[in-house]
Symmetry: C2
Subunit: 393 residues, 2 copies
């Protein structure tokens, strides 16, 4: 019982990620869905229910609030569609809720779509604009992503020494991976010097330490494992899935157990997913990872939160090339959020697409040879909501 | 397998519904939750996961977007909390997703909270303000709730004759029920004449045909039926639950099968729930109903959509008193949306609270004697997303 080993991913699809001014939110949803359906060799009519992961629809379209935003462009009527919204972990949580319904045998075949349309909105109405202007000056004003992760980075530097160059290595690695991904927002290499010399956004986070603002959608077709084989032999199983809502990093001042060197939600979500999947040594049992590199420092601290190295060991992991495509534990082979961008609700689903393709041996120039176990990680809120999924054959 | 007969409601709670300027969103969440926990005799620490139903948080608080909005006031860390948003069916859909997780045996004991804080917001920033001002003039401008349901009402009048007085009877009935509910927003009786002579909002919908704008929260504790008895003998089972996303009533011009006399989503959601619960004759098998009377016409057409009478028979059902508290099929004994108000995400959960108490014989002055099977119905979007739950012992 439960999700673990009972739910199969039988098809995946995604749009190109980027500034897609020529495509509407609905266009993105349709394109991602039909690619996933074709991959699964499933007709839309066979889909019994769907989940839509969209976090911030209200910033660009007052109707992107509900299951209707998926049902309408797909003409999915009258099937049930739930909208899930959980900050940057929205994509994984949409998959999680869909997987509950499959594991409960309420449905055998469902669709999950993550989508967000973030570019064609004025700065004033944008997510960043809203957060930058909201709240009292001391506690919240200016509470933008870079501003918050800058605090985490300086704390990390204080404990382990300056990691600005290691952060730059993350950006260089993920941009390189992006050159191998025709759907990435950024597809050109950058150098360490470019990252280090880029304009500062919030010290020590410079322009090239930040993921861009991007449009995109990704889709996943889930089936109960007992019927997966009737569609395809080339499916992937959800071996474990964990979600955790922890106290916001930046407000968790009163917790004795908060070392401020990582995100409690990531650690707890990984603990749940590892337990379900029977992972005891993630560093050696996992073959390929997509994790939430919204900023380069986030990739480093997430290495530690996921137990891929000892505390403070992240800078060595990146510097020695372990997490590069030809390393022994490739991370963000898609290019990550850094090169793909981060359409909030789409990101978790896009990561699951990438890892599914890796485990099927279909990742083209980004293929990690012999990958059998993969991991997907989202964190947002910031630091408050995290999801971790372990996938395998 | 599946939800039906596997998921028990072991505790319920709700705040007073009304203009709660003295309470924050978080206050409402806490009050509803602790009432439900006390009712279930469950300690918050025992709760394994939670779902939050909030539809329009962005109109009053940019942080009411995610599971954090429930985790923070309850200090529920690090447990997983999903936020579900599905227009006016948000409350039922949050319960539905939580029930999937229970039925899948991922968790045995979970919390669902529906909450919305709608009063302390300027008209410009309110939901009504946003919809009234959004979109191109012909298709969408002025697409407010009353404006849209007025179209449905005039279509109904065209087919079956003027039902303005029957609509008024719905308002009078639900206001009367509200006088018996100490948590209702409106607790005073009104007369047919008052309803008929009230200022017109959008013909034929007058002021007293509309539910008010209200703050409130409601909470439900769900357990797998196999462990329910370890907490209480006084639990209620989910016998069936259906969700449907149908084409928006007001845009479904091209569907041959749309008679514009009801809402396809309600009909489909009821069909699913009845099938799961084994209901063949809803008029005689169901003992008490909470349904979505956002406007008085909505209660009338929902009688027909739920199969409680033949098409066109709704006016007779209300006029003959069948749906009044002392009738043979009491509807909206709580006072409904008309007297309780409609904090969007809270409404479905509040209805489940009412029906649970009816089936336990704990509805005080509103008690329907011998009630064994109850029904809850939400519809919104408008007319696009509907949920129906059948509850029993």
């Amino acid at each position: 019982m439960g999700i673990a080993n009972n739910v199969a991913i039988i098809g995946v699809g995604s749009t190109r990620f980027g500034e897609l001014f020529e495509q509407s939110y609905s266009d993105l949803v349709v394109d991602a869905t039909y690619e996933a359906l074709a991959d699964a060799r499933v007709d839309l009519k066979e889909i019994e229910a769907a989940w839509l992961g969209t976090a911030f629809g209200y910033t660009y379209h007052p109707d992107a609030n509900a299951g209707t935003s998926l049902a309408e462009p797909l003409n999915l009527y009258p099937r049930p569609v739930t909208r899930v919204s959980n900050y940057c972990a929205t994509g994984i949580d949409a998959v999680r809720n869909a997987a509950f319904a499959i594991a409960a045998r309420e449905y055998d075949l469902v669709l999950v779509v993550g989508a967000e349309k973030m570019r064609d909105v004025s700065p004033r109405d944008s997510l960043v604009g809203q957060y930058a202007n909201y709240g009292p000056p001391v506690r919240s004003k200016g509470r933008t992503g870079p501003g918050q992760y800058a605090l985490l980075a300086t704390r990390y530097f204080e404990q382990y020494g300056n990691a600005k160059e290691a952060m730059a290595m993350v950006a260089v690695k993920n941009h390189y991976h992006g050159t191998l991904n025709p759907k990435a927002h950024f597809q050109r290499e950058i150098t360490i010097e470019q990252v280090l010399n880029a304009p500062m956004v919030a010290y020590p986070i410079g322009l090239f330490d930040c993921c861009p603002t991007t449009d995109g959608a990704a889709a996943v077709v889930l089936a109960h494992k007992d019927i997966a084989r009737s569609f395809t032999d080339d499916y992937v199983l959800i071996k474990g899935i964990g979600l955790s809502v922890a106290q916001d990093y930046f407000h968790a001042f009163f917790r004795q157990d908060n070392d401020f060197l990582g995100l409690a939600a990531s650690r707890e979500a990984a603990r749940i997913a590892y337990r379900q999947a029977g992972i005891q040594d993630p560093r050696h049992e996992i073959d390929v990872i997509e994790l939430h590199d919204c900023f380069t420092i986030t990739e480093l601290i997430t290495y530690e939160d996921l137990g891929l190295c000892e505390p403070g060991g992240a800078t060595r992991l990146i510097a020695e090339g372990h997490t590069r495509l030809n390393g022994d534990l490739p991370v963000n082979t898609s290019g990550g959020l850094k090169a793909c961008g981060h359409p909030i609700g789409a990101t978790g689903a896009r990561m699951i697409v990438e890892i599914t393709q890796q485990l099927r041996g279909r990742a083209d120039r980004r293929q990690v040879q012999g990958a059998e176990i993969g991991l997907v990680h989202n964190v947002g809120g910031p630091g408050a909501v995290a999801g971790v999924v372990v996938l395998g054959r």
